[in-house]
């Protein structure tokens, strides 16, 4: 008598199990077009609405959307490719494009998307979607990205720090160092700068946001002619640049990784400057209002550099209907509602027309300098199939160096790891340089 509940549930489950199970084995219904993507809730909605609008405009066509959480996207792509279940349209992180094209599962989209859309893409947008060996376009997007410096206007003015007017006027390396030093003793400043170490190494942040500093200092993650990292990433220019960043950290000028990513605008403004992505604007402006100003990245050596690249849409080689995929992509990217959703969330323009129509980035807008910077100084991350190895080695090295490791030793290790990966793959033909 003590156990009626047990008998009941066991009996129920045994019966229900077999009866109901067959119903669940059937997979979801097949659609004409499948698209895998990642994105914030507003993007999910915008893409969903675009798909519905496309279905309405093309009766009989159905689109299945496979939304994948951002933090797990690489795993999902890897698994989908290795299980041969890649959808027709795949969104991907731009620097990985070369790796995916080389691996052979994407197809050129030049002939698949609207000519009008093609002509509207910014040079930076084209560069992030182009595979260097065949110079063909494999991906497109409405948006792009960049990194700028954020500051408080009042703070800079009160400390009599020069405020650059535009990209050509950017702070020099020497000037920047003096500014950090000046800020370090300014009242109320706990850290002169946040370089968002808090993003950690789960994102592309380190190679994305720190590479421009290296390029501007006269080096790079890899030699883009010979595709060899040794001699470049562990050369003097890179070691000096990494040592400079490590010194900032050692001086206590940089927000530590464990202090989060909100120190620039948190109460009391502990961090004076922020080396942040364009998306950081909406976070910061909410707390700081008019006081927030946007500055170009400093120019450390002879040339200025800034990052680019974002999540872009490609069409898989196995797609049953690439024409339809191209048609949908063209439709979605040029869909006014889709564009509005991105404009409302300070999306960084990857189309000329979208830039002109975005008050934030248009001339005179608060982020105009970001758009100017992208046009003048953007350098994509190395477009090479070894990019996953380049990214991994760079992240490890810079994390360690900023935590106090020897710059020369760790960069040598990173360069060797990258070269070993390239060698393991026989130089990733047709890429040259062995």
């Amino acid at each position: 008598m003590t156990y009626p509940r047990f008998r009941l549930s066991a009996g129920l489950s045994a019966g229900a199990l077999i009866a109901a199970f067959a119903a669940f084995t059937a997979p979801a219904t097949a659609a004409d077009l499948k698209m895998m993507f990642q994105g914030d809730p507003y993007e999910v909605d915008a893409i969903g609405a675009a798909a519905k609008a496309f279905e309405a405009a093309n009766p009989g066509t159905s689109i299945e959307l496979i939304h994948t959480p951002h933090d797990s996207y690489n795993e999902k792509i890897g698994a989908a490719v290795s299980a041969h279940q890649l959808p027709d349209i795949v969104e991907l992180d731009a620097p990985f494009l070369s790796n995916y094209v080389w691996s052979g599962f994407l197809q050129p989209i030049d002939g698949l998307i609207d000519k009008k859309l093609l002509d509207d893409m910014t040079p930076s947008n084209i560069s992030q979607g182009t595979y260097p060996p065949d110079k063909k376009l494999y991906a497109t997007s409405l948006v792009d990205s960049t990194v700028v410096l954020y500051a408080s206007k009042k703070q800079l003015e009160s400390l009599k720090i020069r405020i650059p007017k535009g990209v050509d006027d950017a702070w020099t390396g020497e000037e920047f160092k003096a500014i950090l030093k000046r800020l370090s003793t300014a009242p109320g400043v706990k850290w002169p700068i946040d370089i968002f170490r808090g993003y950690g190494t789960k994102t592309e942040w380190i190679p994305y946001a720190y590479e421009p500093l290296l390029i501007s200092s006269g080096c790079d993650l890899i030699n883009r002619d010979t595709w060899k990292a040794s001699g470049r990433l562990d050369g003097k220019a890179c070691v000096d640049a990494a040592a400079m960043m490590a010194e900032w950290v050692k001086n206590g000028w940089v927000v530590p990784q464990s202090a989060g990513t909100n120190q620039f605008y948190a109460q009391g403004r502990p961090a004076a400057l922020a080396w942040g992505g364009h998306w950081f604007y909406s976070e910061a402006v909410k707390a700081m209002g008019d006081d927030l100003i946007v500055l170009p990245l400093p120019k450390f050596g002879d040339k200025a550099a800034s990052p680019n690249g974002t999540w872009i849409y490609a069409i898989s080689k196995d797609s049953a209907d690439p024409q339809l995929a191209g048609k949908f992509l063209s439709f979605m990217i040029q869909d006014p509602a889709f564009q509005k959703a991105h404009r409302d969330h300070s999306g960084f323009p990857g189309l000329k027309s979208f830039g002109a129509a975005s008050p934030l980035y248009a001339p005179g807008g608060p982020m105009a300098v970001a758009f100017e910077q992208a046009a003048k100084t953007a350098v994509p991350r190395p477009p090479h199939p070894a990019y996953p190895a380049i990214s991994l080695a760079t992240q490890t090295a810079f994390t360690n160096i900023l935590d106090g490791a020897d710059p020369q030793a760790d960069l040598t290790k990173a360069a060797a790891a990258i070269d070993a990966d390239i060698e393991d793959n026989d130089g990733y033909p047709p890429f040259g340089g062995k």
Partner: protein
């Protein structure tokens, strides 16, 4: 009756694991390309990588700390809520909440608690020591990062062991306590001579399983520190994950998995031999 379970385990666990052995002998990449047989190159590469050894050291350190802390705390809590007290279900439910909180949320919460230099934990320490103890960069200092991960992990997961201990406590015959009480045994004596021996089987299970779980440490580290600072929290599974999913070297990652398997298997068998009832 054994068949269904064995078939399921064989098909969904053993088979994929066995498949990783041939893979570990090739240069198989995450994104399929023609593969090449490379013999034991992957094993040599793993075993000569100082990061792998660092990872092995780290998980061992983690295990040595977390097993006693987590199991001890779980047992204490189980004893606490196994008593007849008013609102017992409330306490049972409340103390189980950490265990049902998803690990991603746990990491967000503890990331805030640990924040340097003004996070709540540092403020409490400063308050309790009248500001004498300076703020600790919990996750940012190589010396404190692993203990911080231990604290977080034990807090998140003790509910698992607590439930097993609760079940184990029900297996101890009530008449033994009755007899002990009649003999005038103190609370401690009753624990020492009735409860503790009665939990023998439970302890074996809990210690072996917690050790295995500890060696598989991954998610917390992947979210909070990604192995840093200065490799102080790199774990074997995290190393494998990074090699496989980020570095795209599936062959190499399979070799790591197989090496980890044999190391932990030996540890478990030794533990079982040591802990087993000498019948």
């Amino acid at each position: 009756m054994l068949l269904p379970a064995c078939a399921i385990v064989a098909f969904f666990l053993l088979l994929p694991f066995v498949l990783s052995f041939p893979m570990s002998l090739t240069n198989r990449r995450l994104i399929p390309r023609p593969v090449r047989f490379v013999g034991f190159d992957n094993y040599i590469q793993v075993l000569t990588d100082p990061i792998f050894w660092r990872a092995l050291f780290n998980v061992t350190y983690f295990t040595v700390l977390v097993v006693p802390v987590q199991c001890g705390f779980a047992l204490a809590m189980a004893l606490l809520i196994n008593q007849k007290i008013p609102g017992r279900n409330f306490f049972r439910g409340a103390l189980f909440l950490p265990a049902i909180t998803s690990i991603a949320v746990v990491c967000v919460i503890w990331g805030t608690l640990f924040q340097y230099p003004t996070g709540p934990l540092n403020q409490i320490i400063g308050f309790l020591t009248f500001g004498l103890a300076g703020p600790i960069d919990w996750l940012g200092n190589p010396n404190s990062s692993m203990p911080a991960i231990v604290l977080l992990s034990a807090w998140q997961a003790y509910g698992f062991q607590m439930v097993v201990y609760l079940a184990g406590l029900q297996g101890i015959p009530g008449d033994l306590y009755e007899a002990a009480r009649l003999d005038g045994a103190s609370t401690w004596q009753r624990f020492r001579f009735v409860t503790w021996p009665g939990l023998r089987q439970t302890n074996i299970f809990v210690i072996i399983i917690t050790t295995i779980q500890a060696f598989k440490l991954f998610t917390q580290v992947n979210i909070l520190t990604q192995g840093g600072p200065r490799d102080s929290t790199v774990t074997v599974v995290q190393y494998m994950y990074s090699v496989g999913f980020v570095g795209q070297k599936l062959g190499l990652a399979s070799a790591v998995a197989i090496i980890l398997f044999f190391i932990v298997l030996v540890i478990s068998l030794v533990q079982r031999a040591v802990l087993r009832d000498p019948k």
